[in-house]
């Protein structure tokens, strides 16, 4: 080695340096503004443009919203008040329509004195989803979640408590068959039995049993017919039932689509493609107009129920595709390891494959649910009174003829809050998953 570099060779540090603060232009507001807003002419241009957009939007919206009138009994009165307060031609909102009609927008035509029931139901619902959504909530709460659907049904529709109880009994029967009979008669048969027996029970015994019990101990709430439900309550009921019901169906369809069995596979593919290929609104029209053609003469069931079924099928097809993506993302080794341990198909699905595939698919599933919730507005076209439908009928009255923005803003905000928080939840999950398996 040449000795030209003697000064750089044999360098030994004697004291360790302390950590210094970064230079000022590397932190603080100055750096931030320079880097984030004014680096380069394109950026400056974009910044100025954005500032202008923000100014334009706010300068129109804010005065209108803040000047708003909260206290008036009809639109012309409201306009008079505005003219009096701010002079003519000054834009101002008439929030009074919300002050007067908000119960209608939220509960539809649900009897006023029974508002406590949907509110209580909503609280129970929140308690029931908590353990499903957040793993920090005690696992025991899952029992609440399992029972909640029945309680919620009873609270919202009223009627005898025995109906839901008799229905629960069906599930108990199925569970009993699975746990007690399976070792004796084999898995496949017991699964079939566990499905068939409860269905027979629901179709035949369930009703009379509930009736008999009710005649002994009548435990019942005032019945509220479906037509009286509307507004966000309706959207929530349809959305939540659709979500809860479509998930298992979607998973089954996804498994079917992954299956090697020709007929099962093709059936699942056809089902998924047909459902997804046609707009929801056409399906809703089918539910409201054509379903009666397909059912035995004389059957006639609730429009809301039909809508829920359609919405469930529709989102199940979407969920199936999302879950299929999750299944495909799992490495083949996971299937093999489960096989090598001696787990059978359903056990390996339940214990190994689905828990992982579902975790991967959660963001997609949540997005499907957001979509489903937003799509509940389409029921307005088949005569159910969702928030948009109600806004139309509020506008149809003499008092509030001509009110648009206030209602739209309110409805939009409510949906935004719902959907945005669902979206945030899915982000939260995504981050949590990333932390768990690096």
């Amino acid at each position: 080695m040449s000795d030209t570099h003697a000064q750089t060779v044999a360098y030994v540090r004697d004291t360790m340096l302390d950590q210094q603060d970064p230079p000022l232009n590397q932190t603080g507001a100055v750096k931030w503004i320079r880097e984030n807003l004014f680096s380069g002419w394109l950026n400056i241009l974009l910044t100025l443009l954005s500032l202008w957009v923000i100014y334009a939007a706010l300068s129109h919206l804010l005065p209108w919203a803040l000047r708003g009138i909260w206290d008036a009994s009809n639109l012309s009165q409201c306009r008079e008040i505005i003219a009096e307060l701010y002079g003519p031609d000054k834009p101002a909102a008439c929030w009074a329509v919300l002050a007067e009609r908000w119960p209608q927008l939220i509960f539809g035509f649900y009897p006023k004195e029974l508002y406590w029931r949907p509110i209580l139901a909503f609280l129970i619902f929140l308690a029931a989803v908590a353990p499903v959504l957040f793993s920090s909530v005690p696992r025991k709460m899952l029992w609440v979640s399992a029972l909640a659907p029945f309680v919620l049904f009873w609270l919202i529709w009223g009627g005898s408590l025995w109906g839901p109880i008799a229905a629960i009994l069906g599930f108990v029967i199925g569970w009993a068959i699975l746990t007690f009979a399976a070792p004796k008669i084999g898995n496949l048969i017991s699964v079939i039995l566990a499905i068939v027996v409860p269905v027979i029970y629901w179709l035949t015994l369930c009703g009379p049993l509930a009736g008999a019990l009710a005649s002994v101990v009548p435990l019942s709430l005032q019945t509220v017919p479906t037509q009286n439900m509307g507004g966000f309550m309706l959207a929530t009921i349809i959305g939540v039932s659709g979500i809860v019901l479509s998930l298992p169906l979607g998973i089954l369809l996804a498994l079917g689509r992954q299956s090697d069995m020709f007929i099962i596979n093709k059936f699942s593919v056809a089902f998924i493609e047909i459902i997804r290929g046609v707009p929801l609104i056409v399906w809703l029209f089918t539910a409201s107009l054509l379903l009666n053609y397909f059912l035995p003469p004389g059957t006639n069931f609730d429009l809301m129920l039909r809508v829920i079924i359609m919405v469930t099928l529709f989102s199940a097809a979407y969920i199936a595709e999302v879950v299929r993506g999750g299944l495909a993302a799992l490495p083949k080794g996971q299937y093999e390891a489960a096989d090598a341990l001696g787990l059978d198909y359903w056990k390996s699905m339940r214990l190994i494959i689905l828990p992982q595939a579902l975790k991967i698919s959660i963001p997609g599933i949540v997005n499907t649910f957001i979509g489903l919730f937003k799509d509940t507005t389409l029921v307005v076209f088949i005569g159910l009174l969702d928030p948009i439908g109600l806004s139309n009928s509020i506008r149809a009255t003499t008092d509030w003829n001509g009110v648009y923005w206030e209602l739209f803003v309110f409805i939009g905000l409510c949906f935004f809050i719902f959907c945005f928080s669902m979206g945030r939840y899915s982000l939260f999950l995504e981050k949590k998953l990333r932390r768990e398996h690096r």
Binding site: N36, N43, S50, I263, E273, P279, V282, Y293, I370, F408
Partner: protein, 473 residues
């Protein structure tokens, strides 16, 4: 050493139906088949019974009966004496129109917003986040209704354009934005391939026509035409001048400029030929680069190869602009983009654009930072890196969900019902069903139309998917 036992008998036992992997799946499938068959036949027999009970039959004859209703926006010839089938066709075309327009605008919006959302400019990325979250989290129906209301409530009526102090048209008096829609100039040809009518020799007519054409010439230079052909300023200039020359040169019977399908076909063909030419130029550049290492500049040539033939054809056809003018109740002439179309189009594009923005953002983020760094470390410029390294990879991630967004947009266009846009659901699935009472047949046809459309689109997607997959492994 134990003796080896013979392989067990290969006889067939009943239990094999359940426990043997080969037969088990057969058993399950046969059972499934039977169940599905039973379900279908049950549904069909119910339908037959119900139809009988109602005294209805299953018959598509209604498609050939006269419709009796008018449709405001027709891409093909239609009047209320034509059949329901024709009306359905008009609806189908309207659906396709708004779907194509929507997909185009949504892609532009989505790509721009997706890229801006990744911008390191804080305000810009926040603002696009507000756009994306705002549109994603509020029902589309609400946006459609809202935009529709915004347009009808806050734009001036055609009446307001009358008088001195009223609203005025923009872009050199050629575009009128009213609460009934937007009126834009139309491109017409004085030597149309479909043949031109000659104005009746009324005394004032030639003068008026000449005046109109002259005006086109005067304003043509300073105007950007937004007509169907997407013509640009340069040609408008020359075309309009030609029109003016035509106008003043003609004596007696004035030729009325019109446009026919043939003209547009010719223009389309020229455009396609031009872009093929541009592609050939690009290929040649690549060949030169491969041979010498230097890539010749081709962009101006490529642009010219598209534009020059187009200008020539427009001049030959004698293109001019037919501007909207305030008539009795409405504007006459030009192209009328109705409110319903605009509201639906904007709402669909803005809404879908928000989803596309997320897809684009995700696609770009999915290409790991390492790829950019590797390209930079090799000395590639950012532009080249984008073209050769990032985009080819990001597109694979982006295109499949992008296409399913297109599918969603197409299906969502059925919300046209909210603004009275006459799409296929409103004609075939709405008025026709209502007037004829053929809901079963009508809904079936409607569902089939959407199904075929979406199968076509997803077929295209599958072809794309498998073509890029092949390249990778």
């Amino acid at each position: 050493m134990a003796t080896i036992s013979d392989p067990p008998e290969r006889g067939f036992r009943l239990s094999q139906l359940i426990f043997d992997t080969r037969y088990r799946s057969m058993t399950i499938q046969v059972v499934a088949m039977i169940l599905i068959g039973l379900l279908l036949s049950w549904l069909i027999s119910n339908t037959i019974h119900n139809l009988e009970a109602l005294g209805k039959d299953f018959d598509f004859g209604f498609l050939s009966q006269p419709a009796g209703y008018d449709i405001n926006q027709q891409l093909i010839d239609y009047n209320n004496q034509m059949t329901h089938g024709r009306a359905a066709l008009v609806g189908i075309l309207n659906t396709l129109l708004v779907a194509v327009l929507g997909c185009a605008l949504a892609t532009v919006l989505g790509v721009v917003a997706g890229v801006l959302r990744l911008s390191n400019n804080w305000i810009v990325s926040r603002l696009t986040a507000v756009y994306v979250e705002g549109f994603r989290n509020v029902p589309l129906l609400l946006w459609i209704v809202l935009i529709f209301a915004l347009m009808t409530e806050s734009m001036p009526t055609p009446r307001d354009f009358r008088g001195e102090d009223g609203s005025s048209m923009i872009l050199g008096e050629s575009v009128a934005i009213t609460n009934r829609g937007v009126y834009i100039p139309n491109v017409v040809f004085s030597r149309s391939l479909g043949g031109n009518e000659v104005a009746a020799p009324e005394p004032e007519a030639p003068a008026a026509a000449a005046a109109t054409t002259n005006m086109a010439g005067t304003y043509g230079a300073s105007r950007i035409a937004t007509g169907g052909a997407g013509v640009q300023t340069g040609q408008t200039d020359s075309a309009a001048t030609t029109g003016a020359a035509e106008g003043s040169g003609a004596e007696g019977g004035e030729v009325i400029p019109t446009s026919s399908g043939w003209d547009w076909l010719l223009i389309l063909a020229v455009l396609i030929a031009g872009s093929i030419g541009a592609k050939v130029l690009g290929k040649r550049a690549t060949r030169i680069q491969e041979a010498t290492g230097k890539r010749p500049t081709t962009l101006p040539l490529q642009i010219a190869s598209v534009l020059v033939p187009l200008i020539v054809v427009l001049v030959l056809l004698g293109a001019s602009l037919d501007k909207p003018e305030l008539g009795g109740f409405n504007f006459d002439g030009g192209v009328h983009l109705r409110n319903s179309l605009i509201a639906l189009w904007l709402a669909l594009s803005l809404y879908t654009g928000a989803f596309i923005a997320e897809i684009v953002r995700g696609g770009i983020l999915a290409i790991s930072k390492g790829q950019t760094e590797a390209a930079y470390a090799l000395g590639l410029r950012p532009g080249t890196t984008m073209n050769l390294v990032i985009l080819p990879q990001a597109l694979r991630v982006i295109i499949p969900p992008l296409i399913s967004q297109f599918l969603n947009l197409t299906k969502n266009s059925s919300l046209a019902i909210a603004v009275g846009y006459m799409d296929v659901r409103s004609t075939l699935g709405g008025i026709t069903i209502n007037q004829t009472g053929r809901e079963l047949e009508g809904m079936l046809l409607l569902g089939l139309f959407y199904l075929v459309l979406s199968l076509l689109i997803s077929g295209v997607m599958n072809v794309y998917n498998s073509s890029v997959k092949l390249k990778e492994r």
